[in-house]
Symmetry: C2
Subunit: 353 residues, 2 copies
């Protein structure tokens, strides 16, 4: 399925786009890399923060979904998508956010579904979703695809073919309970929900795949500091606002070691500088000891990515023909990920896992 | 037109919602009120910051739009909608954002259009838009309204009536060039674009109405500080991130005094505490010397608002019948605003303006 081009969009969409970050300043290299979280960090974080109050309802949905697909031996992928927010102290109207529309996650989920995976889609609320992303209300206003004919709303003939394809897939996925959508907004909600889903998915062992495409905040404001040390952590000095944030514990290592130890875990590394991309990706592999980092550059992420493992790196690129035909790079990424997942399942089987 | 209820949404939408701020902590009262901007602030801001590079193309679109409607003596309203962002220093992937889906602005724009105003819709890119908001890809997935019949995509009969109404209005508005959509993302883009549009609108004098529903950031990072004083303004101390922000100049007074001095200006005041709402609204009127503040509470903003002028306050509330029938509060707000705009036009006419 070809992607809709958000730059052109539908007839009534704006020509000007304001939200794309400049490559030259998009990633701050003055910030240090933080160490991986250890069991004590985990205890601290999950003990000192209150779980979201809706978590038990999600827990049941996830358990039902996993059970349903486990019975039919279907593999399950958790796709995370979109950016997490960090509410500023005592002020949830204002928050720190990460640039991400959720395109990578939503598109990847579609290709996993087409390859017979069941998908748990842990996404930023109001970010792009599988299938409906093709008719997002802002880049492609769906009303522009419709006409009035004989007093009825009808789909313009020239869009029928593509829309029918999308609709069929959308209906099939929902009728067969293949997609479970779970929203998050804050990094706090994300971490609690990720841990919950990971622990529930651990029951299917190597048949679970983690595909972590969400843009997770680096910094947060510990809830312990909100009531007690208000003045220290947020000061207004001469009209200025000073916000003092702590690094988010790097829980990927906990996912690998403890929450879902025999599942395959894929993370993403977004950079702007080609020179350091591989090094950064390998650094993440070393720190967290998982299977695969998919490296990508902000400026070329829709046309090429690099698969980095401990002993290999493999570029996956769209050909110019594919670019001209609006082929999604995810249509190349997902089969490659699935191939590696199948190899890992075979390995674990040999080990009796 | 009744509003779609985002809590229920379409059959495949999630039951859980994660992005609604808690009323008890949504607005930080420890922050001081900043004084209105004076001409020197204005000079400083617009001299020390580079205008967005697309501004000249917008300038032409706005001028054409104003000219087109001025010839037919149509009144024009500028509706601002959605939240502005503040990119963190040297890092546009991370930014401070304000909670706002753009519902108030998008819905209000529809009712202005139905009252024969032309609308310049200055909105956060990817926030809700007039008409298409009814079928947003996330709360009401439009694919859920469609069925496959005789090998074609068709609109489900039970949704035909409402969708036809929306489609007719959408087509009419675009065929008659009644809606000009201009996006922003950062507070910087917002301020430059607001100034530009205000100055262009000043040529139609009192026939212009400013309806400022956007959630504008209180703080920003001056661009002057980005290259020179990196260490001072963003420090990582022991892994912590310290962000040091300046208050955004309060340009509403410049809009009133200098950019569009004889137009009607309506601003919004969002609070969480009913006790201080009127006082805060009147404080804004005093500071900026404009005509009308519409006060609203985070927890009840969809069912009641209060019109505050220097010598009056008037609550506008949906009846329980109207609430049950999903009537938009904006269907009551806009006629009231228009009434006051007409009175102001009469007044200005008597003064020969």
């Amino acid at each position: 399925m070809s992607s809709s081009n958000p730059i052109h969009g539908s007839p009534t969409s704006s020509r000007v786009h304001t939200s794309i970050p400049e490559t030259s300043s998009a990633i701050d290299r003055s910030l240090p890399e933080f160490p991986a979280a250890n069991p004590i960090d985990e205890d601290n974080y999950f003990k000192t923060h209150k779980p979201p109050n809706y978590l038990s309802s999600i827990s049941k949905d996830v358990a039902d979904f996993i059970n349903f697909h486990h019975l039919s031996k279907r593999k399950i992928v958790l796709v995370t998508s979109g950016g997490t927010t960090v509410p500023l102290e005592n002020n949830t109207v204002r928050f720190i956010d990460n640039f991400s529309a959720g395109t990578r996650g939503a598109t990847s989920a579609e290709y996993f579904l087409e390859s017979n995976y069941a998908v748990i889609f842990l996404h930023r609320e109001f970010s792009l979703l599988p299938y409906s992303r093709h008719y997002s209300h802002t880049t492609n206003c769906f009303l522009d695809y419709m006409i009035e004919k004989d007093g009825k709303v009808q789909v313009n003939d020239s869009y029928q073919k593509e829309m029918l394809l999308v609709l069929k897939k959308h209906k099939f996925i929902h009728e067969n309970n293949l997609l479970l959508k779970i929203p998050f907004t804050t990094v706090h909600q994300y971490l609690f929900t990720l841990k919950l889903i990971a622990q529930e998915l651990s029951v299917i062992g190597s048949n679970a795949l983690f595909y972590l495409a969400a843009a997770v905040s680096d910094f947060f404001l510990p809830s312990s500091r909100i009531p007690e040390h208000k003045i220290q952590s947020q000061e207004t000095v001469g009209g200025k606002l000073v916000v003092d944030l702590e690094p988010v514990p790097k829980f990927l290592s906990r996912l690998v070691d403890s929450w879902a130890p025999i599942s395959m875990i894929v993370s993403f590394k977004l950079e702007t500088d080609n020179e350091i991309l591989i090094k950064k990706a390998r650094g993440a592999l070393k720190r967290y000891n998982h299977q695969l980092v998919i490296g990508n550059l902000l400026q070329s992420r829709k046309i090429e990515v690099v698969f980095v493992t401990n002993d290999s790196e493999k570029w996956i690129k769209l050909s110019s023909d594919q670019i001209n035909n609006n082929i999604d790079i995810e249509s190349l990424i997902i089969p490659e990920v699935i191939k590696q997942h199948s190899l890992l399942i075979e390995e674990k089987k040999k080990l009796g896992l």
